[in-house]
Amino acid sequence: MSGQMTGARMVVQALRDQGVDTVFGYPGGAVLPIYDEIFQQNDIRHILVRHEQGAVHMAEGYARSTGKPGVVLVTSGPGATNAVTGLTDALMDSIPIVVLTGQVPTFMIGTDGFQEADTVGITRPCTKHNWLVKDTDKLAETIHQAFHVATQGRPGPVLVDIPKDVQFATGAYVAPKAARVSHYQPRVKGDIELITELVEMMEKAERPILYTGGGIINSGPGASQLLRELADATGFPVTSTLMGLGAYPASGKHWIGMLGMHGLYEANLAMHDCDLMINLGARFDDRITGRIADFSPRSKKAHVDIDPSSINKVIHVDLGIVGDVGHVLEDLLKVWKSRGRKTNKEGLAKWWSRIDQWKAKKCLTYRGSDTVIKPQYALERLEALTKGRDRYVTTEVGQHQMWAAQFLGFDAPNRWMTSGGLGTMGYGLPASIGVQVAHPDALVINVAGEASWLMNMQEMGTAVQFRAPVKQFILNNERLGMVRQWQQLLHGERYSHSWSESLPDFVKLAEAFGCSGAKVDSPKDLDDAIMAMIEYDGPFILDVLVEKHENCFPMIPSGKPHNEMLLGDASTEGAIQAGGAVLV
């Protein structure tokens, strides 16, 4: 389709041509012409949110669970500024999002007009790129460029700001194929010499580890498949960041659990003691490295990343390979196979026996209870009762998020949506709706804390209106659990403002929103409550009253190296053995 049309129609046509089936948005004065076009078509479904931040998180959930870019449409001024947290979240976690914002007409820009904000100025540091379109003839091409930039290379959020007069004016539509998608063509193939060098290191390594991240999931299901092939063929242990869970199956033979501040003991000790660390699409985040100076001191480090600026940013590596991790894995496997599939079998066997010793520590052990629901127990039961199902999990941010990462197992990529880099409380509920919209028949659960959940609870209205049967699994400790934990550990148990004195009745809240809810406070009733939540045909809020002062362990205290992890009190008594001094 081409020819002359209004800017507003062009927006809808461009989205259609980009294969967009869903837009999350909220109307307002500066986008009314586009909403008028949306009204007059049926190809693109519009999900009306309750707050623009929710729209962006929904688009993130949609993108993360499908691999396609998420699309948001909001108005100028407050519509755009409300989207800023979501944009920053997507930038930190490399999620492809295209946000379209309305703007005051071009002749009013700079006059402090009603609902005017310098949207491209405000969002410049929180987008991968953004555009202000001042000419209707350039609108379609700019939208196509936006999709290109959002999805190519390291994915990320982009924003197109469209003044209202540009929407009304008529111009020439340009189809995606005819659009100049700029010079932006990031390198995807890794340098084969460097890949061969890495294979040589792999052949000799006595204590190798595959440290995988969200980049594998962003690269697509093929990369996850190649990772599995690599791990299973070489026998190397696999750990992952929070963002990479599911790339290698949690049930896989070589899985040693998540690493990082609340990662597993065996994963962190293996990172600390390895002699070859292969970072595949992760970025040495500070939650992962702990104290930089003591990070994995005796290892050679290789880093595969599509973003050249990630390499040597935080941790100096011996071998940096710029490329898409899927392409690099493919070449890596080819080279390794052609050289005779060599590994240091003797070294590996010893390495695994050390890892098994660390595993034997059972670092996730916690003190159970017959009277109070332990949050860990709640997640164990949730895992047991939902495991075989077509399940997607989102989370909010805090203790519950870490427990979910520890106790839920993911065997496939794109099944786990969480705010990693930015740590955005209020992410999970809207993200769950975005996932559900993309997968209407799946079981979508948001593992939440009550404080995070309240931050975007208005989106329950969206879930009810669009019949998104999302399950809100709230671990309610009436505390800001992670803040409280840090205050206990670091601030002399002075619990400054880390509890809520007047929480809503979540069951009544569910009813008020027109869905259903239940409260459970006893371990013996938990299974029935979870089953009732799963089986309810519609959105459901399960208010799980859990132990109020449970701490999340294991934990690498801030600024400490991996081998100074704190373990939960249930598992550390008299058990300090391997891997250096473990602080109790």
Partner: protein, 186 residues
């Protein structure tokens, strides 16, 4: 973007680490950045420097290819080798950036800066200013009975030296363009 090859063995750097500022050598590098001359591109580059805490010693920008709408940004920056590598990589991933060249490491280059000096005075001082200007090959581009405006082109060091000499002779105002630089040879 061949200029962006990640150098093996460059130093580690983290914003979260408290480092001894003297532990690593601070180097000055001149970077040439070729960008699309689109709205906001300068803000993007400057925002990158301020947002990530990098230094800008000097910055010049102008369109150098009117047909292709390309601008050349010349930026002089200071940092440890690791920080310099980061700056180049961060610049390289901006969407409107086509090329990043580190003129300091890519081989010999020439650097020039143009500046205007207003010197106010009469009598001996005025004559001395004019004499020194001749030695420095500065041109007089404006003159009144008690002032000169000199135009001088040269390396930043030469301009600094000229400024030092003019100060006691009635230096009233200075305008400097910042550094423009090109690699030597073909």
């Amino acid at each position: 973007m061949s200029a962006l090859k990640i150098k093996k063995g460059s130093t580690s750097h983290s914003a979260y680490e408290l480092r001894d500022p003297n532990a690593e050598v601070i180097e000055t590098h001149t970077l040439a950045v070729l960008v699309d001359n689109e709205a906001g591109v300068l803000a993007r580059v400057i925002g990158l420097f301020s947002g990530r805490g990098y230094n800008i010693e000097s910055l010049t920008v102008a369109e150098v290819d009117h047909k292709g709408h390309r601008s050349r940004i010349t930026v002089v920056t200071r940092g440890t080798p690791g920080v310099i590598e980061q700056i180049k990589a961060q610049l390289g991933r901006l969407v409107p950036v086509h090329e990043v060249h580190d003129l300091t490491v890519e081989g010999p280059s020439v650097e020039r800066e143009l500046s205007l000096f207003k010197v106010v005075g009469t009598g001996e001082k005025r004559i001395e200013a004019l004499r020194l200007a001749e030695i420095f090959r500065a041109n007089v581009v404006d003159s009144t009975l008690e002032s000169f405006v000199f135009e001088i082109t040269g390396t930043p060091e030469k301009i600094d030296a000229f400024a030092d000499l003019m100060r006691p002779l009635g230096l009233a105002d200075v305008a400097r363009t910042g550094v423009a630089a090109l690699a030597r040879g073909a």
